[in-house]
């Protein structure tokens, strides 16, 4: 449904996103996960034809975002990070206005507005001035706006930011209900939100895609893959020889900490602590440290996203 290939965008000399590539299948909910200023909004703005990429290609529903921009906009509903609301209009007037500029046929205008009012559960505020609504209601009016005309594709930029927990749950339920009928791209810097609502995650950091998979798969890879960190006194050849016989090691990294001491990081989906300790001690090596590092998606997210910040 959505194909993104090598999108790059500069703001002046600053690179906002670089070579972003991913696909979204029809009816899928995709989460764009990344810290602030990672390039999520930029990617979404490009897909909604708000602005063009510096280079790269993207098609939405088979339409090229550059060549057939109007067609793309016809089948896409977009909720920007700050909901685009006219503060002095009533909710109803606002939705009718948006429906009109979204080319809703005149005879379907009322029913279309009614249906999104119902979907977003804003019936009780439809005659109130938007500027006077609470943040949660404003967000829902923004969401209602993006669902007008039943778009095939819905793009939501941080839809739950600034809401209280109850409102967050309501918005998430609403988004989950879009599954199947709509293809949804959702951005967030909150991991649990993505885990709960999305079927696939694209993690973006500093403008680059660093990982993409299902949340379960990502979590399994990391959670299941328990890491054991050892510090051992002895030469690396001896250590390798000593650990060779242990079954179930998926991956092993050896780093030299200082002369004669090495740090070994072992990934495995089994608990190898006992075997490891035994083998090391039996080979006459000095076991200085043994710790277990459990990974969750949050950890990889944190790792993926904080590592480079330290460098920068």
């Amino acid at each position: 449904m959505i194909e993104v290939e090598g999108l790059t965008r500069y703001y002046g000399a600053k690179k906002a996103i670089s070579d972003v590539t991913f696909q979204v299948k029809k009816g899928e909910i995709l989460g764009l996960l990344g810290p602030n200023a990672a390039g999520k909004t930029t990617t979404m703005r490009i897909l909604t034809c708000f602005m063009p990429p510096t280079s790269g290609k993207a098609t939405v529903g088979g339409y090229d975002i550059f060549e057939n921009s109007i067609d793309v906009r016809r089948i896409t509903g977009y909720l920007p990070e700050n909901p685009p609301l006219y503060m002095d209009m009533t909710t109803r007037d606002y939705l009718e206005f948006v429906a009109r500029i979204k080319e809703t046929p005149k005879d379907k205008l009322i029913s279309e507005v009614d249906s999104v009012v119902e979907k977003a559960a804003i019936g009780d505020v439809q005659n109130r001035i938007i500027g006077k609504l609470s943040k949660g209601y404003k967000q829902r009016v923004g969401l209602a706006q993006s669902l007008l005309n039943n778009p095939q594709i819905v793009i939501l930029d941080e839809p739950t930011v600034g809401l209280d927990p109850k409102q967050i749950i309501e918005i998430r339920d609403l988004i989950r209900n879009l599954k199947g009928d709509h293809t949804v791209i959702l951005s967030s810097h909150i991991l649990p939100e993505i885990e709960q609502t999305c079927e696939r995650v694209v993690i973006i950091n500093q403008g680059k895609v660093v990982a993409q998979d299902t949340p379960e798969e990502l979590t399994r890879k990391l959670k299941g893959g328990e890491k054991v960190i050892l510090q051992i006194e002895g030469s690396s050849e001896d250590i390798k020889k000593a650990l060779k016989g242990i079954k179930g090691i998926d991956k092993m990294d050896i780093e030299k900490v200082k002369q004669g001491v090495s740090k070994i990081i072992i990934e495995s989906d089994k608990d190898l602590r006992k075997d490891l300790a035994q083998k090391v001690v039996n080979s006459g090596l000095g076991l200085l440290e043994l710790t277990v590092d459990k990974f969750t998606l949050e950890d990889i997210f944190l790792e993926l996203t904080t590592k480079e910040e330290e460098v920068a």
């Binding site: 909604t48 708000f50 109007i70 906009r73 920007p80 002095d88 007037d93 948006v98 500029i101 080319e103």
Partner: protein, 260 residues
């Protein structure tokens, strides 16, 4: 067309959501009313003087031309007041969208920048025409008590609407350049004022530049309309001027959108 109409509708209504439109309407009506009173008083005084003079010399009083002595200067006054009030209408036309972030909505729905700009321009023009209604009532009083010619009044209004279009197009363009309404208002006023005053400079420059300045000036073309003459040259000037302003506004939003 439907989209243009939707934008027009929304803009025109939103003038009245805020107190600004009421304030502008009140300001414009009070000032044009005041000027009407002053011009009328001047005219009445001149008539009295003529009566007295006629009595003194024992001859029939000369007829006083209400079109020439009252309506013509009054149209100039309306134009001057419009110069100062129109920037207050145009200031929010586009800058408000930028400030609220609603440009993100406008650029991601299937409408073109041309539809956005034309809807907004027409809304501004419609409000200006609404503002002119009280002055039409003032003119109606003249028909009650005198016999002014109708056609010069009509041409005067055509001139005013054309002049207003030009000011609104300029103001709308300035409004697309900023998200700050105050800057948009001051900028719109400054540019309109410069375009107005540039004609005065014509007397002080050489013979080659003078006609150029006179042609560019927004107000030299208004003179004929206020006198009851509709000259195609002047008509074309205002239409061209308006389209140029709107074209710049269009390019401005397109360039903001596509700036890499």
């Amino acid at each position: 067309m439907e989209a243009t109409l939707a934008i027009f509708n929304k803009e025109f209504k939103s003038f009245f959501y805020s107190p600004i439109a009421y304030l502008i309407l009140a300001f414009f009506t009070v000032l044009t009313g005041l000027f009407f009173y002053l011009n009328l008083s001047g005219f009445v005084e001149a008539s009295m003087m003529e009566m007295m003079r006629a009595q003194q010399y024992r001859m029939a009083p000369r007829p006083m031309n209400v079109n020439l002595m009252l309506i013509r200067p009054y149209f100039w006054n309306i134009a001057l007041i419009a110069l100062f009030t129109l920037p207050a209408i145009t200031m929010r036309l586009y800058s408000e969208e930028k400030r609220l972030g609603t440009v993100e909505l406008l650029y991601t729905v299937p409408i073109t920048p041309t539809q956005i700009i034309s809807g907004k321009f027409l809304a501004g023009l419609a409000l200006f025409i609404v503002m002119l209604i009280p002055t039409m009532i003032f003119h109606a009083f003249l028909f009650l008590y005198g016999e002014p010619e109708f056609m010069p009044i009509l041409s005067g209004y055509i001139g005013l609407i054309l002049l207003g279009s030009a000011f609104i197009a300029v103001g709308l363009f300035i409004s697309t350049t900023t998200e700050n309404q105050i800057i948009a208002a001051i900028g719109g006023l400054a540019v309109s004022l410069i375009l107005w005053l540039i004609g005065w400079g014509a007397s002080y420059v050489g013979p080659t530049l003078a006609p150029v300045l006179e042609y560019v000036s927004i107000i030299t073309h208004y003179e004929d309309f206020s006198q009851g003459i509709i000259d195609t040259g002047h008509l074309i000037y205002y239409i061209l001027f308006t389209f140029t302003g709107l074209y710049f506004a269009l390019k401005m939003i397109e360039s903001v959108k596509w700036r890499a």
